[in-house]
Symmetry: C2
Subunit: 286 residues, 2 copies
């Protein structure tokens, strides 16, 4: 199948690498360096800097741009797409995307809304690698006008890319869950790192860190061009999750203030058991 990738960054490049052995992969990107690198390293079959030819030569597309850029792109070029074109959208927010795309009154294009729950703190095609998707989660949020055949195609491509759990949920469920598993997690990491200003110099801190601090702060290296949009377009859900976290933190603080060893133990027994179940669930699935 001919597949066109719009935006060849970390995710676009990883999709290309994951599908190229079975499909003919074309890419469109504003950066000539990116296209040159991808062509020279055999990541794609064909590079386009001409948008009209790129669109008319393909019928199935992955659009791998930042959320607002996705809407701008489809809005600007929607009339270039052939009838029955499928655009697979891969951003980290769904309710907002579905709403905005529905305002565009697309006729020739069917958009399938999906979220590969995988990535890296690094950006660009240069860091893409097929391993990123292996055994990761893939969430699809079907909408009314999605054909069964299109959803089946998206699932089958996700399997080829070696995703493990492929789920279908509503955009609202997706946004609620991702606000917790991904967005809150990033907020905690960056707030932990930024606290260092009030505590000590970085240089001194370096001498006291272990693997725990290293692990919890890896994702504080965060793409400031992408994430503010993700947070703001899912603001209400994220605020709710931050508040639920604050309630848990408050429980811990109260137990500590009261020297309540039993309560502290129970909080730890709970978290240990939840995390062990998570490991077990993953193992059983594989």
């Amino acid at each position: 199948m001919k597949i066109g990738i719009i935006g060849l960054g970390l995710i676009g490049g990883t999709i290309a690498k994951s599908l190229k052995n079975k499909h003919y992969i074309s890419a469109y990107d504003l950066s000539e360096n990116t296209l040159k690198f991808a062509k020279e390293n055999d990541i794609i079959n064909e590079a386009y800097n001409d948008i009209e030819n790129f669109i008319s030569d393909n019928e199935v597309f992955y659009i791998c741009l930042y959320p607002k850029a996705i809407i701008d792109f489809i809005s600007k070029y929607k009339n270039l797409f052939k009838k029955n074109s499928i655009i697979i959208e891969i951003s980290g927010v769904k309710t907002y995307m579905v709403q905005e795309i529905s305002k565009l009154n697309l006729e020739n294009i069917e958009v399938v809304f999906t979220h590969p729950v995988a990535g890296s703190e690094k950006v660009g095609v240069f860091h893409s690698k097929a391993e990123i998707f292996k055994n990761a989660n893939y969430v699809i949020t079907p909408v009314k006008n999605n054909k069964k055949s299109s959803l089946d195609l998206v699932k089958s491509l996700a399997k080829e890319m070696r995703f493990k759990n492929i789920s279908c949920v509503t955009p609202e469920v997706h946004d609620s869950m991702i606000a917790y598993t991904s967005q809150l997690t990033h907020v905690l990491s960056l707030s932990l790192v930024n606290s260092v200003y009030a505590i000590s110099t970085e240089l001194e801190t370096n001498r006291f860190i272990g693997d725990s601090y290293r692990d919890l702060t890896r994702i504080s290296k965060i793409n400031e061009k992408l994430w503010p949009d993700l947070f703001i377009t899912n603001k209400q859900e994220l605020l709710k999750k931050i508040e639920l976290f604050e309630i848990e933190l408050r429980k811990f603080k109260d137990a500590l203030i009261m020297n309540d060893v039993k309560k502290l133990e129970n909080l730890m027994i709970n978290s240990t058991s939840l995390r062990e179940n998570m490991d077990r669930g993953n193992k059983n699935d594989s």
Copy 2:
């Protein structure tokens, strides 16, 4: 050199494995299974279940028990130790340990207070491995009665165990920094995991997690027999650090509520830069 290890758990076992090629390692532990396993797997040279013989056969000891058990052990057996015995203490709190040990009025024993900033969410000698210490941080908090020769010995043993940064600071500086890098980090991880109760079932959550959630929650598997003591004996410092973290979290929430993209970007630019410096610092040191 003959070295005695009191308590052959994860850390005691890792010390044994890290030093055995150059030293004669004995261990005392209440669990016969542990001693049997360590002897059969060649982790130690000699196993003791008789405390008197163990103490009289050695002059340098690592005491690898939980904080309160360290104090109880030394208090109970202090008269068995030969003159000029050295006990190297390895717990995660220092001000409290120094205070409590000083109350014991030790005559024959010199205690050197240290903290190998390394470990695992797993427990027991069965999970010990020398790699845990490789390139990790080691903090020594010297006290008045420590001889230079004893501190030099401890440093030299730490180097043999392949620790990278070996620092000397006051017990107070240690406790302030560890409250941030280690204790706060664990509190955030366990509170993040425990928040799941208010959000969804674990089963559903599993389908939405990526590496970020996996990384941030690894240490929520936490030993509830050890950590409440570490937290409570360093309570004031930990409470301060939780409050500094809450200030950072508040900054993020305010920016989000106000849709302040510029502010969100700046928080992310800061955290990215701090974390990149940390990586760079580590690389330069190695």
